[in-house]
């Protein structure tokens, strides 16, 4: 067993996984990795099957009414969850930045109180590990060169700072290569990528240049939506570089890798 450090203080938490809609359908392996890591640290993971989506796509594109329904649904599903983990920085940012505002727009004091009560219990995956569980070494082994994409919401909304990198630095065998212009958006922006495909592609092309310049084998991140965007171009251009969610790196061990 690897040394788990201060994590021992917080053993036996019941952690509720909010997988998010797109990870559920497109990146099940990320959810599986979150489960693997948290269980390895001695916690219990639960999955509430009634969950669907945080409403980010609808809210950000202007479909406010639809996002209200999803807000109410989220609160209903997770109201009594002790700790909620979400492996997507932009979905956590959606909840933290916009849920209070949405409840205010709806002029619903009960909803406002529910939002205020639940937000402190929602953690982005790297936040959960480093802040709530107080652990950076999760006993992972990943013998590859990796660069790290910060993701705008992780950077500017959640202020994740060095948290994802702190976790990667503790991974045995991993070489972390710094990504130039890490604060620049990859050009995804949800529906932006399809509404403004040319500008999005131009931004993505700059991002790819930075990633390829590091000579890393893989580009890691805490948000599969950016990684899907970046990975789509890495694949189209046959670069041979892959994208990988932080949780999947942390889940791999000397046995599994």
């Amino acid at each position: 067993m690897p040394s788990l450090g201060p994590a021992a203080i917080h053993c036996d938490l019941v952690i509720s996984l909010f997988i998010t809609c797109y990870n559920d359908a497109l990146f099940p392996q990320t959810g599986q990795a979150v489960v693997t890591v948290l269980e390895r640290l001695g916690h219990t993971v639960e999955f509430r099957a009634a969950q669907t989506c945080c409403g980010q796509m609808h809210y950000n594109t202007g479909y406010r009414q639809d996002s209200y329904t999803l807000l109410r649904q989220f609160l209903q599903v997770f109201a009594d969850a002790e700790v909620i983990v979400c492996p997507s920085s932009s979905c956590v940012a959606m909840m933290r930045d916009h849920y209070p505002k949405m409840a205010e727009q709806l002029n619903d004091p009960v909803l406002q109180a529910q939002v205020a009560a639940i937000l402190p219990r929602i953690f982005e995956f790297s936040e959960l590990l480093t802040d709530k569980l107080g652990v950076t070494d999760v006993g992972a082994f990943y013998p590859h060169t990796v660069t790290l994409h910060a993701s705008c919401h992780g950077l500017r909304s959640l202020h994740l700072g060095s948290k994802p990198a702190d976790l990667l630095k503790q991974v045995k065998g991993l070489t972390l290569l710094p990504l130039p212009d890490a604060d620049q958006c990859c050009g995804f922006g949800g529906t932006f990528a399809v509404k403004n495909p040319d500008v999005s592609a131009a931004m993505l092309s700059d991002k790819l240049q930075c990633i390829l310049g590091t000579s890393a084998e893989a580009c890691a991140g805490a948000d599969n939506s950016c990684l899907m965007h970046i990975g789509g171009a890495l694949s189209r251009q046959r670069t041979g570089v892959r994208t990988v969610h932080l949780a999947e790196i942390l889940a791999s061990t000397e046995k599994s890798s």
Binding site: C21, N23, D24, A25, L26, F27, P28, Q29, G31, Q32, F47, A49, Q51, T52, C53, G55, M57, H58, Y59, N60, T61, G62, Y63, R64, D66, T69, L70, Q73, K101, C152, L155, R156, S157, D183, Q184, C185, G187, G189, G190, T191, F192, A193, V194, K195, N196, P197, D198, V199, S200, A201, A202, M203, L204, D206, M228, H229, G232, A233, S235, R236
Partner: protein, 470 residues
């Protein structure tokens, strides 16, 4: 009332205009170089300020307070300015402002004007109105001169010719100033501009300016600049006319302490502007002996009426959001089809003029938040972009395919059982496009995605399916 913002009403939709810009390698190189240089300077001089965050808060507080009492402060300004010998005119919209200014120039018997630091006059298309009345406008700010001689449009709030490089400027000058030879060093170009402009500074009797601030308590007008051409324009002519948006007023002289720190550091990465001109009405025997100021609404009070987006009017036109914006950095300013480009333009233009003329602008952003991070008066631009997107959707103007997709997604997400069904349908539906685990040629809305990127095929088992089998 007829509000127009330059030629934004007839501009191409942003995605179409942007497509042309991103294909222009010279433009992209110029914009990238210039924004990189300004960003680096800005970051350096902001980092050396211990109280930068407090300054931002103070700037925002002053602006928000002023907007909440705009009527009182404007009247206070009018009273103080009139008392000092200035004449205050009120213009409801662009046409009215242009009419007032054309009449004034004619009344003073001039058929030419020198202009400086007035983006607002680009908003009203004053030059078009002046030329139609037989009056020749000469832009004297170096960048505006380059734009005017190049028969071009400004592409940046602070650096209007940012999309041009030295070689292009040299060509424009040679052609339009009738020069046979001209060096390509900065000093060669500025020497040519100086010679061309000085003659006009000394000859033309009427100057037209914009303003950075109006001070309510003293009736003073403030213009900051780097070249000194503004100082010439503001002091040499016999008559000075300033055209200023009503949101530019601040209550007290001492409020400048905040803004004269925030603005230069954010705009050009300077600790202080090289030229800070402040004048109050008319001073006998010194400077212009007649001073007129046109206070322009042109949609601003409509913006003020919307509590969710009125902070748009806090803007001090520093341009930091443009330099920080990853979209602007790819397209430059012309793609926005407005005198106001970049993130601030994407929220200001659609609010000033009628929304249906610029419905693609609120979507010209990835909501990355870089604009909000650098804004010296903390305008939450991403939040306002979302608010404006909601207006587009609620007016029923969003594309049909998008509306259907969003409704379909909302229906599927409203119940987990429906979501599982949607997963199954999507897995079936992707079959014709699945090329060895990659989708590379999708139809409809997703065509924009697969034009440039692959998409991994939807896995055969969702997370929830995997979990239920555990």
């Amino acid at each position: 009332m007829s509000v127009h913002v330059g030629e934004a009403a007839s501009a191409l939709p942003f995605p179409e205009a942007a497509k042309k810009m991103v294909a222009n390698s010279q433009l992209r190189r110029n914009v990238r170089h210039a924004t990189n240089v300004i960003r680096a300077k800005r970051d350096r001089v902001v980092a050396e300020m211990d109280d930068w965050e407090q300054l931002r808060d103070a700037g925002k507080a002053i602006k928000d307070h002023t907007l909440a009492h705009l009527d009182e402060y404007l009247i206070q300004f009018e009273t103080a300015c009139s008392k000092a010998g200035g004449q205050v005119h009120w213009a409801r919209d662009a046409d009215e402002a242009n009419r007032i200014i054309v009449d004034l120039v004619k009344r003073y018997g001039s058929d030419e004007v020198i202009k400086v630091k007035t983006m607002t006059s680009d908003e009203t298309r004053l030059n078009v109105a002046l030329e139609a009345a037989g009056i020749t406008p000469f832009e004297t700010d170096l960048a505006d001169l380059i734009v005017q001689l190049g028969e071009d449009k400004p592409s940046h709030i602070v650096v209007p010719a940012l999309h041009r490089n030295r070689m292009e400027i040299r060509e424009i000058f040679m052609k339009k100033m009738g020069l046979d030879t001209l060096g390509y060093l900065p000093e060669d170009l500025t020497a040519a501009a100086r010679k061309y402009l000085r003659e006009r500074f000394l000859r033309v009797k009427v100057g037209i300016s914009g303003a950075n601030y109006l001070i309510a308590e003293t009736g003073s007008v403030v213009v900051v600049e780097s070249e000194g051409n503004g100082r010439m324009c503001l002091t040499l002519p016999e008559v000075l006319i300033s055209i200023v948006g009503v949101e530019k007023v601040i209550p007290r002289f001492e409020d400048l302490e905040v803004f004269l720190q925030l603005l230069p550091r954010s705009a050009t990465g300077e600790r202080m502007n090289p030229y800070n001109s402040i004048w109050t009405g008319v001073t006998p025997g010194d400077g212009p002996q007649a001073f007129h100021i046109v206070l322009l609404d042109n949609g601003r009070t409509k913006v003020l009426a919307d509590p969710e987006s009125r902070e748009t009017l806090d803007c001090i036109r520093c341009g930091a959001c443009l330099n920080a914006c990853p979209v602007y950095r790819q397209t430059g300013g012309h793609a926005y089809g407005s005198v106001y480009a970049g993130p601030i333009g994407a929220i200001l233009t659609p609010q000033l003029q009628s929304m249906e003329h610029s419905e693609t602008l609120p979507y010209a952003s990835t909501l990355c938040g870089a604009c909000y991070e650098v804004c010296p008066v903390k305008i939450n631009i991403p939040e306002i972009l979302i608010h404006l997107r909601t207006k587009v959707v609620e007016s029923g103007h969003a594309p049909l395919a998008e509306r259907l997709a969003m409704k379909g997604a909302a229906f599927a997400m409203s119940k987990a059982s429906r979501l599982s069904l949607a997963h199954a349908f999507a897995r079936l539906g992707q079959w014709p496009f699945n090329d060895d685990g990659k989708l590379d040629n999708l139809p409809g809305l997703l065509a924009g995605w697969t034009e440039f990127r692959d998409l991994d095929a939807i896995p055969s088992e969702s997370f929830r399916e995997w979990w239920s089998k555990r």
